[in-house]
Amino acid sequence: MTQVSTVTFDGSTAIAEPVRFWTRQRKVGAGFLIAGVIAAVLFGALATDMQVRITLAETTAGSAVGIPGTVGAILFGLIAAGAGSALLAPIRRSWFAWLVGVGIVAIVLSFLCWQISQSSTGLNVMPLGNVANSTVRLALPLILGSLAGVLCERSGVINVAIEGQFLMGAFAAALVATLAASVWAGIVAAAVGGLFIAAILAVFAIKYLVDQVVLGIVLNVFALGLTGFLYEQIMARNQSTYNQPSRVPSWNIPLLEDIPLLGPALFKANVFVFGALAAVVLVHVGLTRTRWGLRTRAVGEHPTAADTVGVSVLGLRYRNVLIGGLLAGFGGAYFTLLSTTNFNKGMTSGAGFIALAALIFGRWSPIGALLAALFFGFTSALAFYLGAIGSPIPSQFLNMLPYLATIIAVAGLVGRVRAPAADGKPYVKG
């Protein structure tokens, strides 16, 4: 971006665009420097001398790493400031991501030292196993939703209707799982519910060429209204017959579940954990290693070229949008079969949009989407944890955390990303 335009008129005068001092790297660095110093001063002053203990276990008992609150808050604040000043210096490009990572972790730790040290005795422990577990659980719908987005958008159809697919999935899962008295029937119904919204999306976007963002917004309202209407007309009048699904069973893997940190996160699991991880692997391998993946990417980047070599552009788009609908619907079942066991109006509360943000934050790749979803899951888990230890921050502000983190991630860290070239552009043959 900096040294692109060198225009030569007569071979002697080359006009180079001046390299700006305030590159994005330096801006981010200055941000971390200021934030780190503020953290050191503010959190250091607010924290108490209580030992802050961090354990790997799921409970507050057990061996732990400890540090006095004030010392920790100041120390980690200064580390963040250090990472920031390193970013200001002319460093290698590859260091950027690492330093940003160090900066974020240090600021979070500094903040935690304050929060944990001021909580009452006995609660000043952070059980990382527990946090890891809730991080993965809260990230589950986001992973599945953003994978649905990956499938749609890599083939060139913008999917803003993930929220609507979640809602239809959650509703269908609750209804069918209760009627059939089987969570598995509920999960199948959830996938069909997601498919229903995806089918509308596909037909209107691909056949009738409706602006896809507009369509997604309207479909979300449609799904919200439809599930709300059916909920009030059918479910709310007879909750025990229509809206009392059981929870999906836990599948704990012996031995593996005892691994610190990873055990509670991944192996004290259920169908959603394994399903989401399997879906990430399948979509990643499928996109990068198979003929279908190559064709999907071709259709998303340059549909005309793909069409020229005989790929059915519209057929592939239909197929991918529908598969995405199945995945997002499955993700919707999480809300009624795992996180709670009943359906409520608008219960997804924006998770579909956070999944969309995870998709963009993860740069339209399955692995990136997974990591981004875990990041957002962590912010939600943190909000829960801080509420549990009696943080002085009002709960309403803690609840803002995932949403604010999404804004900061999309605006501050991700920079200008490049979507698949044909994303959102309907393909008309000829």
Partner: protein, 465 residues
């Protein structure tokens, strides 16, 4: 195909964009049948080229009108979209009603039961929708006889108009951004911020009558504008997509509101539930029909809405800012090349949109709600998106769409009370209407409309992220 082709021979007028081979074929065919009268010949070309018979071009005004009526123009598509949505809504009503469903279990033995039950249920529901939105015929007749007070006759219209006012503002908030090439999904959050600002001014500042209302409205516009400016500047500076940032800001605003209304000095004295103090009477929007009856809630907000629609129409159509806004919306690259500051325009567009949404929130608070609660804005912000889309992002169109949605909302209350059908049906109807309006090709195919310049949702761009 329109009257412009009248002077040409039919076979040329039939299909200028078909392949030449087909056209010569048509021409030959037409030439061999030169003895036939114009009508037959036109039919022949019609069959060959698969288009409208040119010779059937009507000449009288009435015929032209009828012909235009059944073409895929904006008005026809909108009306048919509403009809389609009502049909689907009727199916939902039937499916969701346990008693009607029961009659379908023996459909093949006695179909008349099922059909009668369905018809009665649906007719009752839509009759209630009409009575709640426009006028109750019984009340009207009673009023002429002197047995019913006029208040009851005007009540539905008053309700419709008091729901219309905030929707017109929130619809404009979406439409203005849409014309500037931005999807403002944050109308809800901006409206919440506007309502908060109006409320704080309304019950914390002791100001004289007149000034108080003005200050409250200005504060609402300012708060909404600032809240809209944030995603605008983020988009301009960092490229963060406004769909994501505005949606996230909606939730932030909602949580902020729920925190604010339980704070000391703001929460209503002596109340334990989450509700703020009520605004002083000097900050309320005056009621227009108060002399007729106290239950008529229609207030000055509807007049303000019409004035603001006029103002926005001027802004978009006649001002330099409006020109830049539309240019950036149609093609940001070309606008940049032409020397416009695209980043600044984005930020300003979002600020203006936010200010409009803030006014919408203020209309609710100062016109009907008077005290802040967690759900004070209701779904006015989200409905604003649909209103803006249905109005095809044109100010006067937005006003008409707001009127329709306001009527549906007011009728929905009667639907819930009178027929026991959930108010949510109205959101389903609204979403369906907009889906069909957004896809004029579908409506034209279902009703076999003649092709015409359909007033679709012209975004003017193939939008990606």
């Amino acid at each position: 195909m329109s009257e412009g082709h009248d002077a040409q021979p039919e076979y040329l007028a039939s299909s200028p964009d078909k392949e030449p081979a087909e056209r010569t074929e048509v021409a030959e065919e037409a030439a061999t049948q030169a003895r036939l009268d114009a009508r037959n010949r036109a039919q022949a070309t019609d069959q060959a080229a698969g288009t409208e018979p040119a010779a059937a071009q009507p000449s009288t005004f009435a015929a032209r009108f009828l012909r235009a009526l059944w073409s895929a123009n904006t008005v026809t598509v909108t009306v048919l979209a509403i009809a389609l949505a009502m049909v689907l809504g009727a199916i939902l009503i039937i499916v969701s009603d346990a008693n009607v469903r029961r009659t379908y279990s023996y459909f093949f033995t006695r179909p008349s039961d099922a059909l009668t039950a369905s018809w009665n249920k649906v007719a009752d529901a839509y009759a209630n929708l009409f009575k709640g939105a426009i006028v109750d015929p019984e009340a009207l007749a009673g009023a002429f006889n002197g047995t019913v007070r006029w208040e009851r006759v005007f009540y539905p219209i008053s309700e419709t108009l008091s729901y219309t006012a905030p929707l017109a503002f929130t619809g404009l908030a979406f439409a203005v951004a849409f014309r500037g090439g931005l999807f403002n999904i944050g109308v809800q959050g901006q409206a919440i911020m506007g309502a908060i600002a109006a409320g704080l001014v309304g019950f914390l500042l002791p100001l004289p009558v007149g000034v108080h209302l003005l200050v409250a409205l200005l504060a609402a516009a300012l708060a909404g504008g600032l809240y809209g400016y944030v995603p605008g500047i983020l988009k301009a500076r960092t490229g963060a997509h406004e769909v994501i940032t505005t949606i996230m800001l909606n939730y932030v605003a909602l949580f902020f509101l729920s925190w604010l209304i339980v704070q000391e000095g703001i929460q209503a004295a002596g109340r334990t539930d989450a509700i703020s103090e009520a605004v002083h009477p000097s900050a309320e929007l005056p009621r227009l029909l108060a002399p007729v009856g106290q239950s008529l809630r229609v207030h000055l907000g509807i007049v303000l809405a019409v004035l603001v629609v006029w103002g926005v129409a001027w802004l978009l159509g006649r001002s330099t800012f409006g020109f830049e806004l539309r240019a950036v919306g149609l093609n940001p690259e070309a606008s940049r090349t032409a020397g416009m500051n695209v980043a600044r325009t984005y930020a300003m567009v979002m600020a203006v949109a936010g200010a409009l949404a803030g006014l919408g929130g203020a209309t609710i608070l100062l016109g009907t709600a008077f005290a802040l609660t967690g759900a004070v804005v209701g779904s006015a912000g989200f409905d604003g998106l649909l209103v803006g889309l249905l109005g095809r992002a044109k100010p006067w169109g937005v006003l008409l769409a707001a009127l329709l949605f306001g009527a549906l909302r007011a009728g929905g209350n009667q639907l819930q009370v009178g027929s026991g059908i959930s108010l949510e049906l109205v959101s389903v109807l609204q979403a369906l209407i907009v889906v069909f309006v957004a896809a004029p090709a579908l409506v034209a195919a279902i009703f076999r409309l003649r092709p015409a310049q359909a007033g679709g949702l012209e975004t003017g761009m193939a939008k990606g992220w």
